[in-house]
Each structure stands twice: as structure tokens, then as C-alpha cells.
């Protein structure tokens, strides 16, 4: 009976450690996906806004419909605020949406800074400049997505292995 309880406890510890490792890996994957999605969203918005002249709230809603990460929430929240016409600068609306929806996303300072800089490109009144800025912004997120992909490849296996090792170590310690 005692051995069975010990085995059950060991299984629980191992499972917890592995789940923690997977959660860490998932967090890394989310950051990578978010940067990748931001790049795709910017490409989509560029077409919608500079070519089709779609108003911002409508373009945001369309982009949000295809999002699989929390970026969709950011876009939906910003679209609502833009539509409400509350008389606040767009940069403030966007920053609030980013902070509200991605606060616990584990984004680096650099990534957050790039996200905060997006409004300068999106709401540029000059269509040629808007296109240029969005293109530059998109390239920046492409680079960030590349960096995150590299980090993910490097650290995901490590997270899993470290979690398993930590689990085994804890089990041995407790037994």
C-alpha cells in the first residue's frame, strides 16, 4: 500500500514537472506565433488599408477574424474603441489594447516596444508613407518572429528535458 502511494506521488511529481516544462515551451511557442501572426496581420492590413482604403475598425475586425493568438483580442478591442470615437489618440487606444490583452504574454521589452510603435504606421495620413511604414514594421516583426523561432528551437527541447530531469530529481529526493 505504502509503495503504491509512493508510486502515485512520484507519478504526480513527474507529471507536474513535465507539465511545467510543456507550459514553458508553450509560452515560447506563443511568443513565436504572436510575432509571426503580427507579421501576417500587418501584411493583411497593408492590403486592406492602403489598397482597399478600408476604415481602420473594419480592417481590424477582418484581421481579428483570422487570428489564432491573443492578437485577435488586441485587434477587436482596438476596433471597438476606434468605433466608439471617444476622442482619444489612436496610439493610446492601441497601447491600452496591447497592455490589456498581452500583459502576461511574456513578451520582451523590445517586442512590446515594436508593438507600441505600430500605430505610427497604421494611422499615417499619407498613403505612400503608410505603406512604407507598414512594410518596415512588417519586416521588423519578420525578424522578431525569426529570432523567436530560433529561441523556440533552442529552448523547447531544453525545457522538456530540464523538466523531466527536475521531476526525476524531485522523485528521487522524495523517495
Amino acid at each position: 500500500m505504502r509503495i503504491a502511494v509512493k508510486l502515485l506521488g512520484a507519478c504526480c511529481v513527474m507529471a507536474s514537472a513535465l507539465l511545467a516544462g510543456l507550459a514553458l515551451e508553450q509560452r515560447l511557442r506563443c511568443r513565436w506565433q504572436l510575432m509571426r501572426e503580427m507579421r501576417d496581420v500587418l501584411a493583411f492590413l497593408e492590403k486592406e488599408m492602403t489598397h482597399r482604403r478600408t476604415p481602420m475598425e473594419e480592417a481590424f475586425r477582418r484581421a481579428a477574424a483570422d487570428c489564432h493568438t491573443r492578437l485577435g483580442q488586441v485587434l477587436t478591442r482596438a476596433a471597438k474603441e476606434v468605433e466608439a470615437r471617444g476622442g482619444r489618440p489612436f496610439a493610446a487606444i492601441w497601447r491600452e489594447a496591447v497592455d490589456g490583452c498581452l500583459a502576461d504574454g511574456g513578451l520582451t521589452e523590445e517586442e512590446l516596444r515594436e508593438l507600441y510603435d505600430v500605430p505610427a504606421a497604421l494611422s499615417n495620413a499619407d498613403t505612400v508613407m503608410q505603406q512604407t511604414c507598414m512594410e518596415r514594421c512588417r519586416q521588423r516583426f519578420e525578424e522578431l518572429a525569426g529570432e523567436e523561432a530560433e529561441i523556440f528551437r533552442e529552448k523547447s527541447g531544453l525545457c522538456r528535458r530540464l523538466a523531466a530531469a527536475a521531476g526525476i530529481f524531485l522523485v528521487l529526493l522524495l523517495l
Binding site: R53, T54, P55, V82, R85, S123, N124, A125, T127, Q130
Partner: protein, 315 residues
């Protein structure tokens, strides 16, 4: 008109000043913002400048001077953060905001050959508030109907005397139907977006239940398009008389569709002297002429039949 939504079109400081000035937006006609120039309001009883503490003065020199940043911020709100989406409208020098208010802009034009490519450094903004006067055509409509049929009618008026407002209410009443005539399908060619005041394609002014609006295009092409696509029973256009309008107007006259139009002018005699309209008047294609006066906006000087005979003496 929702006051908050209207004030939110302006930069924070301007918004505060307008609120403090306690001007009633229902009667306010224009708000003029110019970079580094006084903030001016046009009210029914005259023009006022808004001081830095929100009080009004007739001395423009004492008015609060709007900054460049405030103009840019206001533009951002006016365009719903999507100034790029109003590219075509800005080339024409104005855009329409929710509520049907018209925002005129001026600045530096960038030309591409003889075409306006875009407008930069927008330093002058004129917000003209839309005030739809429901029922202002009540006294005119009975004279534009004969045996239950709408007559081809021309509203003649000097600028700023209410011809567009009158036409708008006529469209609404003809479209919805009145005790003089049942509801008719009305096609409106709104070249300058003044009649419908559409925002994102949706008319902000009430033009009736059976009205189709084609906006922002030339009148001549618009009339032909509406005739072909929407088969209107009544066609309404504002400010006819341009060089390309002749053929389209003749098409309208000869296809069983009734025309209600406006033109700049002071009298029927004045219209007879205009090349295109003079010919249409001589051919008696118009069955009614409504002449508005220079005095009070909307004042009717006379309503005449196709021969120039008075249908009703007005004063």
C-alpha cells in the same frame, strides 16, 4: 445630434473650449480651425471667437489660437483614425463625418500633372454642421404636384439661401409620400455629398424610404447610371448647369422620369441667360420654377409654371 460625439471630433483642448463656450450645437453653423489663428464659430446671430477661457467675443484677435498639433489631432478624430481612407474625398477638399456634418480642409496641394494627387499640411479646417430642416418644403410641395404627378422642377437660388435644404426635404417628402402624391422612387445624384451627407455609404440625413443615392461622382454620369440601374421615378440633383449636364438632363426629361434640380441664380430671367438652362427653359421642359430670395434663408420669392406665370404669389 449627440453633443459628446460631435465634440469628440476635436482635439482635447478645442473640445474643452467648445464645451465651456456653451454654444448650442443645434444652432451652430460653422466651426473654423486655422493653424495659429483664432478659433471662430459662426452662429445664426454672427461670428464669434472663443477665448482661452471658453468665453465668446466678437473680437477675433482675442480668440484662442489653435496649434498645428491640435489641427492634426482633430483631423485624426474627424477621420476616425483613418485619414488614408478619405483620400479621394480629401482631394475634393472635404469629408463627411457621422451626423452628416461636412468638414472642409485646405492646405498645400500636391499636383500630378493637372490632377490633385493629395493634400498635405492641412492647416485650415471648416466644420459645417448639418441641420436638416424637416418640413421646410411643406409650403412648396403642393405647387410641384399636378394631378398627383410630380412636375419637372427647378429651384433657383443665390448661394447660401437654402436651396439644398429645400431640395433635401422635397426628396424626403416625395420619397415617403405625402397627401399630394404617393411615395415615389427617388434617385439622388449627390456629387458633393451635401444632400445625403453619407458616412461610409449610409445617408446621415433622412432622404425618405424610397431614395437611392449615388454620390461623389459627376452629375452627368451619375444621372445616366441611376436611370439605367435603379429606374427612379423622380431624379434629384443639386446645382445643375455644368458643361456635361446637357445630355444627361435631356435623357431624364425624355425617359418618363421627373427631374427636381437646383441652380445658382437670382431669378427666372437670370436662368434664361445661362446657355444650357436657357435652352431648357425656352423649350419649356421645366414645369415649375421655385425662386428663393437673398434675405432670410429659405424665403420663397415665387413659384412659376413652365411659361413663367406665377403659380402662387409669395413674399
Amino acid at each position: 445630434m449627440r453633443e459628446d460625439a460631435f465634440y469628440n471630433l476635436f482635439a482635447l483642448r478645442i473640445r474643452e473650449l467648445l464645451r465651456e463656450s456653451r454654444v448650442n450645437p443645434e444652432t451652430l453653423q460653422e466651426i473654423r480651425l486655422r493653424a495659429d489663428r483664432p478659433l471662430l464659430l459662426r452662429c445664426p446671430d454672427g461670428e464669434y471667437a472663443v477665448r482661452g477661457d471658453g468665453t465668446l467675443t466678437t473680437d477675433a484677435a482675442q480668440g484662442y489660437r489653435a496649434t498645428r498639433q491640435e489641427l492634426d489631432e482633430s483631423l485624426e478624430y474627424i477621420a476616425g483614425y483613418s485619414l488614408y481612407a478619405f483620400d479621394e474625398e480629401l482631394k475634393r477638399g472635404f469629408l463627411t463625418v457621422p451626423g452628416g456634418h461636412r468638414v472642409g480642409v485646405a492646405g498645400r496641394l500636391v499636383m500630378e500633372g493637372d490632377r490633385v494627387q493629395c493634400i498635405r499640411h492641412i492647416s485650415f479646417i471648416n466644420v459645417r454642421l448639418a441641420h436638416q430642416l424637416i418640413g421646410c418644403a411643406d409650403g412648396v410641395l403642393p405647387y410641384l404636384v399636378e394631378d398627383g404627378e410630380i412636375c419637372h422642377s427647378l429651384i433657383i437660388s443665390p448661394p447660401g439661401c437654402g436651396k439644398t435644404t429645400l431640395l433635401r426635404d422635397l426628396i424626403r417628402q416625395i420619397s415617403d409620400g405625402s397627401r399630394y402624391a404617393g411615395g415615389r422612387c427617388v434617385g439622388v445624384v449627390d456629387e458633393r455629398c451635401e444632400l445625403a451627407g453619407s458616412y461610409q455609404g449610409i445617408p446621415q440625413n433622412d432622404l425618405g424610404a424610397r431614395t437611392d443615392v449615388l454620390e461623389c461622382g459627376p452629375k452627368s454620369a451619375g444621372m445616366m447610371m441611376l436611370l439605367r440601374s435603379m429606374s427612379p421615378q423622380v431624379m434629384a440633383v443639386d446645382e445643375i448647369g455644368g458643361p456635361g449636364d446637357g445630355d444627361a438632363l435631356e435623357q431624364v426629361f425624355h425617359c418618363g422620369c421627373k427631374l427636381i434640380a437646383t441652380v445658382h441664380g437670382t431669378s427666372l430671367e437670370d436662368i434664361r441667360r445661362k446657355p444650357l438652362l436657357g435652352r431648357l427653359v425656352a423649350e419649356r421642359l421645366f414645369e415649375r420654377y421655385v425662386v428663393l430670395g437673398r434675405g432670410k434663408a429659405g424665403q420663397i420669392l415665387g413659384i412659376y409654371d413652365g411659361d413663367g406665370g406665377s403659380v402662387i404669389p409669395c413674399g
